[in-house]
């Protein structure tokens, strides 16, 4: 990762900016300029909810160069509320604390700390959604 590339990716990495087809309303992540659904080239940027559920997950016991921190971490295929699917790392989760169907939400986390030019790269990861306990607010 280098600075110009990182800057270009920030809308997607920081707030899940996607592209919505103005003709058929299908949402695409990553953004693309031509709709896979209907072929229209008229797209508008939208921000995804970041709310979804785990369709599948894997535990990585080897990492690519520059991602040694990822050894032992979980990767997931996630389906967001909007119907969009993406692959991302999970965070704030115990090794055995995940299952298929788990509800997750996007959080901004460090992706790597030793990229070129000393860059620290941040981007989306997902964590399990904790259910709020009913009445908890009233007691506080």
């Amino acid at each position: 990762m280098n600075l110009p590339r990182y800057r270009r990716l920030q809308p997607a990495f920081y707030r899940l900016q996607a592209a919505r087809c103005t003709a058929c309303r299908q949402v695409h992540f990553p953004s693309r300029t031509r709709c896979l659904g209907c072929g229209s080239a008229s797209m508008e940027p939208v921000r995804l909810s970041g709310q979804g559920r785990v369709l599948s997950f894997a535990r990585m016991l080897h990492a690519a160069r520059g991602f040694q921190d990822s050894v032992g971490s979980l990767t997931a295929l996630i389906e967001l509320r909007e119907g969009v699917r993406l692959v991302a790392q999970l965070t704030d989760v115990e090794p055995d604390g995940i299952g298929i169907g788990q509800e997750v939400e996007m959080v901004l986390r460090r992706l790597r700390s030793d990229a070129e030019q000393g860059l620290i790269v941040y981007g989306y990861k997902f964590r399990p959604v904790l259910k709020r306990q009913a009445g908890a607010q009233a007691q506080s």
Binding site: M60, L61, L86, A88, Q89, L111
Partner: protein
């Protein structure tokens, strides 16, 4: 378009070639293929390769190989389609000969992977995925395949153990291939005990990092018999693509590229899956074998693993696969594997597969898959009996 045949093949053993460089491997395979074909000088050379830039700091690869093979001056181009590069290079050479642009073309697939440490190779392989939206998130290629394997197990109700027939069969067959990296049979216990790479994928679900080169020589079918008594015709050749990322697919457990390229070759050759005698498939991971069998119409959706469990894939089964070890046991020097597959199909059809020889085969299929099946190259080869 004119019919095209393969008139010669050559390969290096697959393994960790500490004494041989990228160029030496490629040149060795090219020279062996040309000698087998009885061709002194080809009109053009195509080099299939995925990672020469990233792993060996060498691009302009086809020029290098043409030069050191002794043919500076000829047309030479590199063909890259991730892990399917070795199939794609044969596809490219086929198009060139079929079109009439050249008569004698050598296609060589080569990969030199072992000079770099494990994490460097892992990074290199991740470039087959979406660099910005998969690899940049630290997600390895094996992890992406592991997502598919768990989804498959969950949806169709399989356990890890159910995938073992793919691995046991490949290793059984590898024993009979003197060029294979692994020539030892393994059993189900070995499979179940093997350490995880990206859970639920273990070392033995995966194909090994290694070096190797394989080459084939193509010419118009009408001229093939002037070079060899036993040419093998390319009955059909097709490539197809899918989205590069897993996310945008309607069903992640459906390999559309494998399906489309298989449909195209069946149509070109006027055959159906039941006409295929054996299948060199892309067994880079056990889950990929299952999904390839389903996409190509050999098994229903969700039945690829059952198809293997029912002994169909053995050398005496309905559809022998990985007949000389496959990517799993012969080895998977990524950009060369697709060319090894073609060479092995040719050897079987010419009756030159030695101890790995199948009886009575007329039509063989090879399918090379790149990325997360974002690209697939499929060939049908045949001989008259």
């Amino acid at each position: 378009m004119r019919p095209v045949s393969i008139i010669g093949v050559g390969q290096t053993p697959v393994g960790e070639h500490w004494q041989k460089s990228l160029r030496e491997l490629a040149v060795e395979a090219v020279q062996a293929a040309l000698a087998d074909a009885g061709v002194e000088r080809p009109d053009a050379l195509f080099a299939g390769n995925m990672l020469s830039g990233g792993l060996c700091e060498q691009e302009n690869l086809a020029t290098l190989v043409a030069d050191f093979s002794g043919f500076p001056g000829i047309e030479a181009l590199k063909i890259e389609a991730a892990c399917a590069s070795g199939g794609a290079v044969v596809r490219a050479a086929h198009m060139v000969v079929a079109s009439g642009a050249h008569d004698l073309v050598v296609a060589v697939g080569v990969e030199k992977m072992t000079d770099l440490g494990g994490d460097g190779v892992t990074s290199g392989l991740a470039t087959a995925a979406d660099a910005d939206y998969e690899a940049a998130h630290g997600i390895t290629f094996t992890a992406l395949n592991a997502l598919l394997m768990r989804l498959y197990m969950e949806r169709y109700g399989y356990a890890r153990r159910d995938f073992s027939p793919f691995v046991i069969t490949a290793h059984e067959n590898g024993v009979h291939n003197p060029q294979a990296m692994f020539r030892e049979a393994i059993d189900e216990k070995d499979f179940l005990d093997s350490p995880m790479v990206a859970e639920p994928i273990s070392i033995l679900d995966s194909s090994p990092v290694c070096d190797g080169a394989a080459a084939v020589v193509l010419c118009p079918t009408e001229k093939a018999r002037s070079f060899t008594e036993r040419p093998v015709q390319i009955l059909a050749s097709a490539t197809a693509t899918d989205t590069i990322g897993l996310g945008p697919r309607k069903d992640p457990l459906w390999f559309e590229s494998a399906y489309l390229s298989a449909q195209r070759v069946y149509q070109q050759a006027g055959v159906s899956p039941k006409d295929i005698n054996f299948f060199e498939l892309h067994d880079a991971f056990t889950i990929v074998s299952a999904l390839s069998l389903e996409a190509c119409g050999f098994a229903e959706r969700g039945q690829g693993v059952r198809f293997a469990q029912e002994c169909n894939i053995h050398r005496n089964g309905k559809l022998p696969i990985s007949t000389q070890g496959g990517l799993k046991a012969r080895g998977h020097p990524v950009g060369a594997s697709g060319t090894y597959q073609i060479l092995e199909v040719v050897d079987q059809l010419r009756g030159r597969a030695g101890e790995a020889q199948l009886g009575n085969v007329r039509i063989g299929m090879a399918q090379s898959i790149g990325g997360m099946a974002s690209v697939a190259v499929t060939h049908l080869l045949g001989v008259e009996v």
